[in-house]
Amino acid sequence: MPFALLKHALRRPPAAEAYWPQPGELGQSYDVVIIGAGGHGLAAAYYLAREHGIKRVAVLDKGYLGGGNTGRNTTIIRANYLTPEGVAFYKESVELFRTLSAELDLNLMYSERGHLTLAHTDAAVRTARWRAEVNQHLGVDSSLVDPDEIARICPQLNLSRAVRYPILGALYHPPGAIARHDAVAWGYARAAARLGVELHPQTEVTGLVIERGRVSAVETSRGRIQAGKVLQAVAGSSSLVAGMAGLKLPIRTVPLQACVSQPLKPFLDTIIVSGSLHVYVSQSARGELVMGGSTDPYPLYATRSSLEFKEGLMGPMLELFPFLAEVKVLRQWAGMADMTPDFSPVMGLTPIENYFIDAGWGTWGFKATPVSGKRMAECVATGRQPALLEPFALERFERVELVGEKGAASVGH
């Protein structure tokens, strides 16, 4: 058995073929130009080529593939949101993630670890119950659990009543998962490139040529290209790029910091979130504790780190896991979070006929990579807002039909 297993495990000898070709010359024109080669942009390119047969696609990025928030997030995947619209959307994402390794032929280390959102107050218990109810009505595995049950799921948690904010209950979401974030971008990039999509890293978009309500060309640091349609997928720079298209987005951009501990032998199997204490943590396949907390308190375009963040994070960490005082922070970094008023993304059509937007990804972008890619590809290909994305349209702010997800944002930012 072990040998057969090993044979299976290693069935495909590691090939040294390139994941994607070396970037070539920038073409004169493309059917679709995607700005941003993060997970979302690459996924959209892949689904455009695979599901809609649109292969004259160029994905541009000012940096390297997956170098923005795709490579800076804390890799949590879940569907236990608060609004029916949000739950339905993220549910499809979780379903796509589950088979994505096979589809992309790359092991994304997708790992269902179970997800506990701790409630330390009556109000938090109420929100947890609200989410559980909505989740269950939509067929998402999610329930309110009491401290005894929490102790069974994650015995490492400090469930003492004699702490500042005792844990009163939790929302338990067994399908909650983590994955290797870089691999998601690489997998989509490779699969898209194999279908003929062109990847152009180190190609910064500097302007958009708009005539009579249509985008006709994209100005880049490597020259101008004609574009049939343009999709922007630049989390962290959404307002800046949309500004080139003359669009004003209801977004404020704030830094979101994260850090990892040194690698430890795995002891924490569950993903733990505490909105009241402003902390979330999971243990990666390398053994590092991956930790995040609140966004920085004021808008800023800078990925610098701060001590305040670490202090604000480690205090709650030790409240939940008092035995970790001697464990060490290894690395701290930051990404940019495009926060919308309702804590939900903005996807789909814009007032510019052939310009599409995938933005407002705040702190919830990575977990939506497959579904946003798939549905945005549909949107770009058909020119119509897919039903699943209807609630997330930019014009919802005109209609004031907000999708209030603040209560289910990983941390009540």
């Binding site: 495990a9 029916p84 339905a88 691999a183 430890l264 409240e319 001697e326 060490k328 701290q332």
Partner: protein, 1000 residues
């Protein structure tokens, strides 16, 4: 206990007379006071310390400092244990216990090493391509195995009893690094009168001088300088202190290891570690340089060390790590190691990549009779758990091929030097951009972004005299920049080091074996080889960030201090790009890992967050109240009498309030004092309703909206004077509202003269409700005229009660006749007690937050954050009358003006009555119109508040329902796990809809 075979008879800064016992992997050894665990292990000829991350290959001690990638151990045993500690930085203490990590059953026989046999199958990124088939096996089988193999050390299990402290400090000049340049900089600054902090991560100051022999003239100079520095009142020397982060505005964080070196003998009054938060006018970085290894074949065996580190062991600790040494170098500096080893009685051969070795040191080595193979490289090594021999060969002129015969040289120690990397981490953290200097073959600090300058080896000056000169100049310049008159100090002329010939940079070295088996390690901890980097590039990972992420090079606990530049060099050679154009990956804090405990300091456990108590807290406590946390406040939840359940107690409190009088401690509600000529105008803009016409002495309930028109906070604000208002906010929202007010005042409306002051803590608030309240208040506050004609609902009067200044409000959150009394906080408890005494004949009953919730819900009053969720408009709550549509502007007006804001199908506040009067709905439960659906069900609303009402004698709820106000009288359904509850939609006001009680 064994002798220490590698301890020299003399030399080193260790205390020969103080032997210390320690245990490593269950075996007892002896070291000396002053040893590091690494030097003590090497003294005992223990080179095998751990196993690598992926292949579990034997790993030894590479360095003598913070850069150590492989000599890592688990310190301590049982539940109290610390993982991944660098043996090179653990100071030995008596009774120290350490074990190897990442090996089972032990470091000598480690079954994980089977991975090594499979290593041709496990190159960079292998797991992305494998463990996929059959998919059903991924999580239950493969992932479990991978996860089991993850990590290095074990997390502790028991809480850490140690204490960590924080300390803030300001200084004129912070010098990081206590080597020759740092000492010189510190001296220059200190002599100028500047306040100086000089920090160094080592137990002793001296830096590179610690690796020089006792006879070196630098030692005497070092002692003199330290003595002089110790004499300055405003100079603080911090040994054992690592500057780990350089943040904005010259804010640096240092962690001082106060008692780590004492082990269990540490005095209990001292913290274990101290986090220094230093704000420095000027910073001098004198952080030195880290030696670079060479990526030759099988360069990972225990016994293969950095050449400079070997000198440190010789002269710092009196330890000679081996007897037969091969020194493998591309530069002159390693010849000093060769000379010193020979002097210490070792047999030494030098292998130099350069065709000729011409500098002063090579000449001295030749004179000393040390054999040198110039133009040669090591192309393989032999040995299992310790290096046994090296195979060296002459290389072709371009260094890419082996030419000529291979020679086997037996060796138990290999000293490697690939040149030196300036330690530019803090410069990079300060947002400086390092630049590559092709001449010196290393990255140097770029232009300073903050008030910072680099001096000495960290700026590429590797000679002693040059370091001293640079340190002297930098220290004087920093002091001058901080406002002092300074001049560079002199130093003795004999402090110089021999001139060195240029190094030869060969990033990739030829190997005796084919690539797959050559194992030229770049990252020794994560098992990344040159072949892995080549593979990553072949697979298209052209960006250096991709190479790092794909191969995991530089991502271990050492963060690539010895491997990053080697990896860059290999990528540069393979892609033909100049190394300087590849860019370095950003150095991020911390420089070396920092314990969670040090970051948290004292702010944990009982001191995690302060508990805010109202002035009446002691009374509640004595009355047996059960408390609930509301933000940081603790508030009485209910006051159970003996034998009462929560439900009975709450019902009693509600009934007493409706029938007689109830008393609530409302001191936690946020209170913001607003003064200034433009305050009314400011409130007009901040609140949705109008404020300019509010008369002095009157109060108004206000809704605060975000710019999106959604309800953000609410509360009653009173006009105490023409230019003086007192705003109340929700208990949890006080800080947020104050910040909101200040943001608008400071950033958008600076022309408004308004001053906001939080006075929440300054006033105690007693909230009285119930039909007999006026009678009680008349007794309590006889100075006030309570005649409803003169003092109607929503009014405020100022006066005194028992000679104490008091504010009396006629307001209500229960729907009953209500008065709120505010007195200065220190009188709150006394007034409360007097109120209770006077109220006894009336049946005065204290009530907690739960009864308050029931009372307000019966009346249909909302709680922001419970009925609202950030997407709720005033109209949704039926509070359209609170929107001053005629006002020129207010926050949220533009959003509210949209036609869609008034759409009839928005979620609106309604009441619900369960069909069965005893059925209590769950808050958060969802409402559906059609009970016969299966998931996904169409939800049209949710329950926001749900209680048993003593007043109604039944359960009731508030809910937000789509088009709710048009559904009054309709039946909706709440699916519960075990049943379907039918509810009737009603008006949200259940008690006294006409408001007769309120205005009575």
């Amino acid at each position: 206990m064994s002798a220490q075979p590698n301890r020299l008879a003399a030399g080193g800064q260790v205390e020969r007379g103080r032997p210390l016992a320690f245990t490593f992997n269950g075996r007892r050894y002896q070291g000396l006071a002053g040893d590091s665990l690494a030097s003590a292990l090497l003294a005992n000829d223990v080179h095998l310390v751990g196993r690598s991350f992926k292949y579990h290959r034997p790993r030894g001690i590479l360095s003598a400092g913070a850069e150590e990638p492989t000599g890592l151990v688990q310190l301590g045993e049982g539940g109290r244990t610390e993982p991944n500690l660098r043996t090179t930085q653990i100071e030995l203490y008596d009774g120290l216990v350490a074990t190897s990590q990442n090996c089972w059953p032990g470091v000598q026989l480690d079954l994980g090493a089977l991975n090594n046999l499979a290593s041709p199958l496990l190159p960079a990124g292998f797991y992305y391509k494998t463990f996929m088939w059959p998919p059903a096996f991924w999580q239950p089988v493969y992932e479990r195995l991978i996860r089991r193999a993850a990590g290095l050390g074990r997390a502790p299990v028991l809480p850490d009893p140690d204490r960590y402290e924080h300390r803030h400090a300001h200084c004129d000049v912070l010098v990081v690094g206590g080597g020759p340049a740092g000492l010189m900089a510190g001296l220059a600054a200190a002599r100028s009168g500047a306040r100086v902090i000089l920090a160094d991560e080592q137990p002793a100051l001296g830096g590179a001088l610690l690796a020089e022999p006792a006879a070196h003239p630098g030692q005497a100079w070092r002692q003199e300088v330290l003595a002089e520095l110790a004499g300055f009142e405003d100079t603080r020397l911090l040994p054992r202190t690592t500057a780990f982060a350089y943040y904005d505005h010259n804010y640096l964080c240092l962690v001082e290891r106060v008692t780590d070196h004492l082990g269990p003998a540490a005095p209990p009054q001292l913290p274990r570690q101290r986090l220094w938060k230093v704000r420095a006018r000027q910073v001098v970085l004198a952080t030195g340089a880290i030696e670079r290894p060479l990526a030759f074949a099988q360069n990972d065996r225990p016994g293969i060390m950095l050449a400079g580190a070997v000198r440190r062991y010789l002269h710092g600790y009196g330890v000679r790590p081996g007897r037969r040494a091969v020194v493998f170098t591309n530069n002159d500096s390693a010849y000093a190691t060769a000379l010193d080893l020979a002097e210490a009685g070792a047999e030494v051969t030098v292998v130099d990549l350069r065709p000729q070795a011409e500098g002063a040191l090579p000449a001295a080595a030749a004179q000393a009779g040390i054999a040198c193979r110039a133009g040669h490289g090591i192309v393989a090594t032999e040995g299992g758990q310790r290096v046994k021999a090296v195979i060296c060969a002459r290389l072709s002129a371009d260094g890419t091929r082996i030419e000529g015969a291979r020679e086997r040289i037996p060796a138990d120690l290999v000293c490697v030097s690939g040149g030196w990397n300036p330690t530019i981490h803090l410069h990079s953290q300060s947002r400086g951009r390092p630049v590559y200097d092709p001449e010196r073959g290393c990255f140097l600090p770029g232009l300073p972004v903050q008030a910072e300058r680099s001096a000495g080896a960290c700026a590429g000056e590797f000679g002693l005299a040059a370091c001293l000169a640079a340190g002297a100049a930098a220290g004087a310049a920093a002091a001058e920049a901080a406002g002092f008159r300074a001049s560079p100090p002199d130093w003795p002329a004999e402090l110089a080091s021999p001139a060195e010939a240029p190094a030869r940079l060969l990033w990739q070295l030829p190997a005796a074996k084919p690539e797959a088996r050559a194992k030229q390690f770049v990252d020794l901890q994560n098992d990344v080889t040159a072949a892995d980097i080549r593979l990553a590039l072949r697979e298209g990972y052209a960006s250096i960030e991709h190479v790092k992420r794909y191969t995991t090079t530089g991502m271990g606990t050492d963060q690539g201090k010895t491997s990053n530049v080697v990896a860059l060099g290999i990528v540069a050679e393979l892609t033909g790009q100049p190394i300087g154009e590849l860019g370095v990956t950003t150095f991020r804090p911390p420089y070396t890992p920092v314990p969670f405990g040090a970051i948290v300091g004292r702010n944990c456990g009982p001191l995690f967050e302060p508990v805010r108590r109202t002035p009446m807290d002691a009374w509640h406590e004595a009355a047996g109240a059960v408390f609930e946390a509301v933000g940081q406040w603790r508030r009485p939840w209910y006051y159970p009498r003996p034998g009462e359940s929560m439900a009975t107690a709450v019902a009693r409190e509600v009934t007493a309030t409706r029938a007689a009088i109830g008393l609530l401690d409302a001191s936690t509600l946020g209170k913001i004092d607003l003064q200034g000529p433009d305050t009314a105008e400011f409130l007009n803009r901040i609140y949705s309703n109008g404020w300019s016409k509010l008369e002095v002495g009157r109060c108004r309930y206000g809704l605060m909206l975000g710019e999106d028109g959604m309800v953000f906070d609410d509360g009653v604000t009173a006009r105490l004077g023409e230019q003086h208002f007192l705003m109340s906010t929700t208990s949890g929202g006080a800080a947020r509202v104050l910040a909101w007010l200040e943001e608008w005042l400071q950033t958008e409306w600076p022309e408004l003269k308004v001053y906001c002051t939080s006075v929440t803590e300054q006033w105690a608030t007693l909230s009285l409700s119930g039909p007999r309240t006026r009678e009680l208040v008349a007794l309590l506050a006889p100075e006030f005229d309570l005649d409803p004609q003169h003092f109607p609902h929503m009014s405020v009067r100022e006066g005194t009660i028992d000679g104490v200044p008091a504010r009396l409000f006629r307001i209500s959150f229960t729907g009953e006749l209500g008065y709120e009394i505010q007195v200065p906080a220190r009188y709150g408890l006394a007034l409360w007690a007097r109120c209770m005494a006077l109220g006894e004949p009336f049946g005065l009953t204290p009530f907690g937050t739960e009864a308050m919730h029931v009372l307000r819900a019966e009346k249909g009053y909302i709680i922001v954050g419970q009925e609202t969720d950030g997407t709720t408009t005033p109209g949704d709550l039926g509070l359209d009358r609170l929107v001053g549509r005629k006002k020129p502007d207010f926050l949220g007006k533009r959003s509210l003006a949209r036609a869609d804001m008034g759409r009839a199908d928005r979620k609106q506040l309604v009441g619900l009555l369960p069909r069965a009067s005893e059925d209590l709905l769950e808050e958060g439960a969802q409402l559906v119109a059609d009970p016969n659906q299966t998931p996904p069900m169409a939800m049209i609303g949710h329950v926001t508040s749900s209680y048993r009402s003593p007043s109604l004698g039944r359960s009731f709820a508030l809910a937000m329902v789509q088009g709710g106000r048009a559904r009054l009288g309709e039946t909706l359904f709440v699916p519960m796990p075990d049943r379907m509850v039918a509810v009737t939609v009603t008006e949200p006001v259940f008690v006294d809809p006409e408001g007769e009680r309120l205005h009575g």
